[in-house]
């Protein structure tokens, strides 16, 4: 609970700063943009969060996102219907997770290494599919005109953008709510969730207690890669294009940071779905805060090259957030003792 309060406080501070910097940031349109991105990051954070709870890690998320976006584009470009293409991409995500899980459990390879290799492989596959080129929805509609209707429908349903690109509603929030509800039920109200926490706390003890740890670990990697593949489709629908070099790059790190901010311990065994969603909401808000700050002349005079400073600000804020969170956690533990 303390950790959720910590991340809530961080979000409240940032919303306060956003209002102070420019009240226009609270207009309907900007808040829709921010909510869309928060939902997108939330979905990814939930994916990595369940892996982290079991004491694992998945560094391939960003590359899977890029690969999924490119695969979706390539399938539609070659005449497949967008909904069928989406199902194949999601299946590919499940397959990737299964492969990761099998390597980690059957071959006893380190999750860090397996997913690091995956990071390179899926980025390479994205490049092979794209042949160095961006694939976009507008191009797809031209090369496969029969896909237009389904693409428009998918875009409307998944991200809330209409045929003209208007963001009418941050539909990714609905997707997030569904993922949140399902994972919340599994993690906090089912036996499987207890297994995952037990594995994260002490895998050996969990195995001795009769838990089929291998099967459980495979399942969390499948969930993570499935959500990454979903993320690739969402990104394609939201931004209208996927690029083999850039789509998804560093998103795995942002998702891990979101999960840690939201209360997941990299040692495993800790974390809640609400915390993950709140942790995932920090970075998009921070980016928005920085962008709105850059609209003020005095801020630009203070920090002349704002874009170069952005990574530093993001890093320092997340570090500060993590420090605050860790302090609150220790205090809470001390009180319990």
């Amino acid at each position: 609970m303390q950790r959720i309060i910590g991340v809530l406080a961080l979000l409240a501070i940032m919303y306060g700063m956003l209002y102070a910097v420019n009240p226009k940031a609270f207009n309907h349109s900007n808040q829709q943009d921010v909510l869309s991105q928060q939902a997108f990051y939330g979905i990814l954070t939930l994916g990595i969060g369940v892996v982290i709870i079991t004491g694992g890690i998945d560094l391939s998320m960003g590359s899977v996102i890029g690969f999924a976006g490119m695969l979706f584009g390539a399938l539609v470009k070659n005449g497949m219907g967008p909904i069928a293409a989406m199902l194949i991409v999601l299946l590919a995500g499940i397959l990737i997770g299964l492969i990761h899980g099998l390597f980690i459990t059957q071959m006893r390879l380190q999750p860090f290494l397996v997913t690091l290799c995956g990071m390179f492989i899926y980025r390479g596959l994205a490049r092979i599919i794209g042949n160095g080129s961006t694939i976009g929805l507008e191009t797809l509609a031209k090369t496969n005109p029969s896909s237009q209707k389904q693409l428009d429908w998918l875009r409307q349903i998944l991200v809330g953008k209409d045929i003209e690109g208007n963001l009418n509603f941050p539909s990714q929030l609905i997707v997030l709510l569904i993922v949140f509800a399902v994972l919340g039920l599994v993690l906090h109200f089912s036996i499987y969730g207890r297994y995952w926490y037990a594995i994260g706390h002490n895998e050996l003890a969990a195995r001795y207690a009769g838990i089929q740890t291998k099967r459980q670990k495979i399942s969390v990697y499948i969930i993570c890669s499935f959500l990454s593949a979903l993320g690739g489709i969402l990104s394609m629908c939201y931004y209208g294009s996927a690029n083999p070099e850039n789509t998804g790059v560093t998103l795995e790190l942002y998702a891990i940071t979101g999960a840690v901010l939201g209360g997941c311990s990299l040692r495993g065994g800790e974390g809640t779905v609400i915390g993950m969603v709140l942790g995932g909401a920090v970075l998009p808000l921070l980016k928005n805060l920085i962008n709105f700050s850059a609209s003020k002349e005095w801020v630009r005079n203070l920090i002349p090259n704002m874009d170069a400073v952005i990574p530093v600000i993001i890093g320092l804020t997340l570090l500060l957030g993590t420090l605050i969170d860790e302090t609150l956690r220790r205090r809470s533990q001390t009180r319990k003792e």
Binding site: K24, R127, E138, Y239, P244, R300, L323
Partner: protein, 348 residues
């Protein structure tokens, strides 16, 4: 000092910052209204050095036309990163925005939305169907033809060429590439891999995903494949491609043998021209990209449509001598002349 005290100090710092933000925001609000100052934004396609000159031009126009200029250089050439910035600057209430479009075909729909909320112009790389007011930039096809002509000058007997670019999807890359090969083939819409007396390595432009390190690796690979050929020319279509080719040629001790022609005015490119390792570069005019974009957006904000760009911003050629060997005319720039010109613009 224990950790919790550090955290308390940090929290106090954050609270102070919030108060400062609030106070300064209020003060700046009070100062508004004394003069009719408009706010516009310029969003580039990457953070490369090229855009620093455009930024100077944009800021000069800002002071000339009483405009507050938000100049943003996204951390990478990624549509998602660029559109997040564009959407946010438009939300802040700028009257207009100039964008160097990364992927015109795929950004057009979203740019149409931007055009509904603010005056939109494209610069450097166009998206003609985006309902933008006008395009400020080089005629990339003509600039590509100029590069093709330079290749013909430096290896008139023909030979192998390799062409490098970050991505081939942006219109500027496509147009430059077509300009180069059309000039080499002496025909419009030429198809390769043989273009007249010139054979294109790999039959297509070699892309690197806007990654200079990757560009250098690609150039090294191409040099390795072509080094035994009698005459080789390498062309860099984006600013960092020429230094990448030069660096790779130096690493393989092939400078002199491989003839390099490029785009834009990176320091390494200019030094390479002076050293005789790069034959020539075709330069755009980023200063005027920035200046004209802001001038047009300021005029549009005040209801004046007369400033809209009607012609392309001309390109220029830099060679070691500044003389066209065919016409013997001094119609090109030397590195020194070009640098003096830039320094003058930058007030150095």
């Amino acid at each position: 000092m224990n950790l919790s005290r550090i955290i308390q100090a940090a929290l106090t710092g954050i609270l102070s910052l919030i108060i400062s933000f609030g106070v300064i925001s209020c003060n700046s609000s009070e100062n508004k209204g004394k003069e009719e100052r408009v706010q516009v934004a310029v969003v580039t396609n990457n953070p490369e050095e090229f855009w620093s000159i455009a930024e100077v031009g944009a800021k000069k126009a800002g002071s000339d036309f009483n405009v507050d200029v938000i100049f943003r250089k996204p951390e990478k050439g990624d549509v998602a990163v660029q559109m997040d910035i564009v959407n946010t600057v438009v939300q802040t209430g700028v009257s207009g925005v100039a964008i160097s479009v990364i992927s015109p075909a795929d950004q057009t729909t979203d740019l149409k939305q931007i055009a509904k909320k603010a005056n939109l112009i494209t610069m450097d790389n166009d998206a003609p169907n985006s309902e933008r007011i006008c395009y400020v930039g080089t005629d990339n096809y003509l600039a590509g033809k100029a590069v093709g002509k330079l290749v013909k000058e430096v290896i008139p007997e023909g030979g192998d060429i390799a062409i490098f670019v970050g991505q081939i999807t942006p219109d500027n890359a496509k147009q430059r590439f077509q300009g180069v090969v059309d000039e080499l083939a002496d025909q419009k819409d030429a198809k390769g891999p043989q273009y007249g007396k010139y054979k294109l390595y790999r039959g297509e432009a070699i892309t690197d995903g806007a990654n200079p390190e990757e560009a250098q690796i690609q150039a090294g690979n191409a040099l390795e494949a072509l080094k035994d050929q009698p005459s080789i020319a390498m062309v860099g279509l984006w600013a960092y491609n020429t230094p990448a080719i030069l660096e790779a040629a130096r690493a393989k001790k092939l400078t002199g043998k491989v003839k390099i022609v490029g785009f834009d005015e990176y320091t390494q490119t200019l030094n390479g021209i002076e050293a005789g390792d790069v034959y020539a570069t075709v330069v755009q005019d980023p200063y005027n990209f920035g200046y004209k974009s802001v001038e047009i957006l300021a005029a549009e904000a005040r209801g004046d449509k007369s400033k809209r760009a009607k012609t392309a911003v001309p390109h220029r050629i830099i060679t070691k001598t500044g003389i066209d060997p065919e016409t013997k005319k001094k119609d090109r720039l030397t590195v020194k002349e070009f640098q003096d010109n830039v320094n003058k613009l930058l007030g150095k």
